[in-house]
């Protein structure tokens, strides 16, 4: 797996640690808890600047999350950081009980989420995480799309009283064009492009691909609405209903095609405004391949999104 990033592309871990260090400099309640993941979480500089506030429990994820809840009990604001696959799957009951059910003020940072670990295989992919976590009451789940949104989500998580999961990708993404007045609000979707023929709801690494798909569709006379649904829980139901008003929704995420963002949108539509949908994501355990190959192979590309949108629009008759 290469960490070489093109000049106009960004590894969101950098935005994460930048925001965390800035927060820590101004608030000594901010601590980081890791499972031997200082390097993979890019927390080396944090450790050098705030040595007493970097708590490395070693390779022990259940204890890591429990210790995080205990640090919150002691008045700290812990950012518990580990590879998303281990943090979520290994410590799921600690996330459920110690963090969510206890309403502990713990921030869980799932690093290198989705298929970032490509060739390392399904053990290291974290594509089930959003489906699992959004089923847990009281837990806020955020999937940021680019460096700006990652940093904003980290600041929002710190300011929010209660447990939050932030999914932090290492798959390079461009910085999205946003107005000066852009704000990130937990639970509020971001309308990135207006359009009345079809809506594309995406988050994380799929947002820039959704925008590229909308661009391609526009050239064919199809006006696609693009919604960045960074917060999967709590869900922005109004934004989904506005998308459903186009009469067709494509969802796209770097995760399972069922149960995650697509599942959440489908549930909301089924309850309030049924609409034809295409849910793009991964089918399950994946074959060997790099992250970019997996994205291509399973159609998680601008072209794949555009194809799904075309099919839906054609089907509207």
């Amino acid at each position: 797996m290469k960490d070489v990033v093109a000049p106009d592309m960004f590894d969101c871990r950098d935005a994460y640690v930048g925001a965390l260090e800035a927060l820590a400099a101004g608030d000594d309640r901010i601590v980081a808890v890791v499972n031997d993941s200082v390097g993979s979480s890019k927390l080396g500089k944090f450790r050098d600047r705030f040595p007493a506030r970097l708590i490395n429990v070693g390779i022990a994820e259940q204890n890591m999350v429990g210790v995080g809840a205990g640090l919150a009990n002691g008045g700290k604001i812990p950012f518990v950081s580990g590879a998303a696959c281990f943090l979520t799957a290994r410590a799921m009951e600690q996330i459920k009980v110690d963090c969510a059910y206890s309403e502990a003020n713990v921030k869980l940072c799932g690093i290198s989420s989705g298929v970032a670990y490509g060739e390392l295989g399904a053990t290291h992919h974290s594509i089930e995480d959003v489906a699992w976590l959004r089923a847990i009451d009281k837990l806020t789940v955020i999937v940021p799309s680019d460096p700006w949104e990652t940093a904003a989500a980290i600041r929002a998580a710190a300011a929010h009283q209660g447990p939050v999961f932030v999914r932090i990708s290492r798959m390079p993404v461009p910085a999205l064009a946003r107005g000066e007045d852009a704000v990130f609000t937990i639970g509020k979707a971001e309308l990135l492009r207006d359009g009345g023929d079809v809506a594309i709801i995406a988050n994380g690494t799929l947002v820039h691909r959704a925008l590229a798909a909308a661009e391609a569709l526009a050239a064919e006379g199809i006006a696609a609405r693009v919604v960045n649904m960074a917060t999967v829980s709590p869900l922005d139901g109004d934004a989904i209903l506005a998308a459903a008003a186009t009469g067709a929704i494509v969802t796209a995420e770097e995760g399972l095609a069922t149960g995650g963002l697509g599942g959440a949108v489908a549930e909301h539509c089924a309850r309030h405004r049924p609409v034809p949908m295409r849910m793009l994501g991964f089918p399950g355990f994946l074959p060997t391949g790099s992250a970019s190959w997996l994205m291509e192979h399973f159609g998680l590309t601008a072209e794949g999104i555009a194809d799904a949108a075309r099919e839906l629009v054609a089907g509207k008759g």
Partner: protein, 292 residues
């Protein structure tokens, strides 16, 4: 922050300890009677483990802990975490007895909408530090609270009560290893060593012995005590207040069902419920012990 009401004690150290222990003994006896009533009324509960833990919990809540029911979230409070979260009979009676909620509310135990859930919920009840129930959770949370205190140089102490069967959970040893590594001198774990788990003896299920060697190997200071002797418990908890560079574990040798003759050391009373006749006998035995 002030200590809970406890008798004024004068005299030399051993006399003072005896007076304090008598107070704890009386409170533990009350807890036992009260929790049996809760379970009898509710028709559900875990009397075996509640009764084995009663003297430990009473020693903490009615003597050792620096807690204030009027300020249950005071940053400098001592923390007690019930890692064996099913023993709410012991925890709820102690919290009510210590003034965290009205004693009458104990009669709502397990009733629809009650704050007294089968396992403790900090969002329902003041004085509960973290929600427990599945085994292997409270101890890591206690370690985290102790790390926070260590970073801040705070004066509070953290006490975690675990079951002995609970030590079969891997997360317990993750926590033990890390607490030893961090030299958490502000942390005390009490193992309720009643030697019975839900269905059978621990040593017949997945043996814990040599238990003391295991804790010492993980970097812990270890004291073995009679977990039904408040004098021994108080002395051990007092000593734990001394500055030290290791976490401390008390292996408290106990009996499941202690205080009720027919429940004592019987696996069947893990979550058994007494009938009316058994309940009357249990209360009579405990009242007789109080008069003795």
């Amino acid at each position: 922050m002030h200590k809970l009401e406890r008798p004024e004690v004068a005299g030399d150290r051993s006399t003072r300890l005896e007076i304090r222990a008598n107070h704890v003994r009386e409170r533990a006896n009350w807890m036992r009677r009260r929790l049996l009533k809760m379970i009898f009324v509710a028709g559900q509960g875990h009397p075996g483990g509640d009764l084995s833990a009663a003297d430990i919990v009473a020693s903490l809540y009615f003597d050792i802990l620096r807690i204030d029911p009027k300020s249950p979230n005071a940053p400098d409070r001592d923390r007690f975490i019930l890692s064996k979260g099913h023993c709410t009979g012991a925890l709820y009676t102690a919290l009510a007895g210590a003034g965290f909620f009205p004693e009458e509310e104990l009669d709502t135990y397990l009733q629809p909408g009650s704050r007294l859930n089968g396992h403790p919920n900090r969002n329902y009840l003041p004085g509960v530090e973290t929600n427990t129930g599945p085994l292997g959770h409270g101890f890591p949370v206690g370690v985290g609270a102790a790390v926070a205190g260590q970073i801040d140089g705070a004066g509070y102490r953290v006490f975690v009560l675990t079951g002995d069967g609970e030590l079969q959970e891997g997360s317990m040893w993750e926590a033990a290893m890390f607490a030893g590594h961090r030299k958490l001198g502000n942390l005390t774990v009490i193992v309720d060593r009643n030697r019975l788990q839900q269905g059978a003896r621990t040593e017949d299920t997945n043996s814990l012995e040599p238990l003391a060697d295991k804790w010492r190997a993980f970097g812990w200071d270890l004291v073995e005590v009679d977990g039904h002797d408040p004098e021994a418990l108080l002395a051990a908890f007092d000593a734990a207040a001394d500055p030290r560079d290791k976490p401390r574990v008390l292996i408290a040798n106990t009996f499941k069902g202690q205080g009720v003759s027919y429940m004592r050391d019987q696996a069947g009373w893990h979550h058994g419920v007494p009938d009316a006749e058994q309940y009357a006998q249990a209360i009579a035995e405990l009242e007789a012990e109080l008069r003795a």
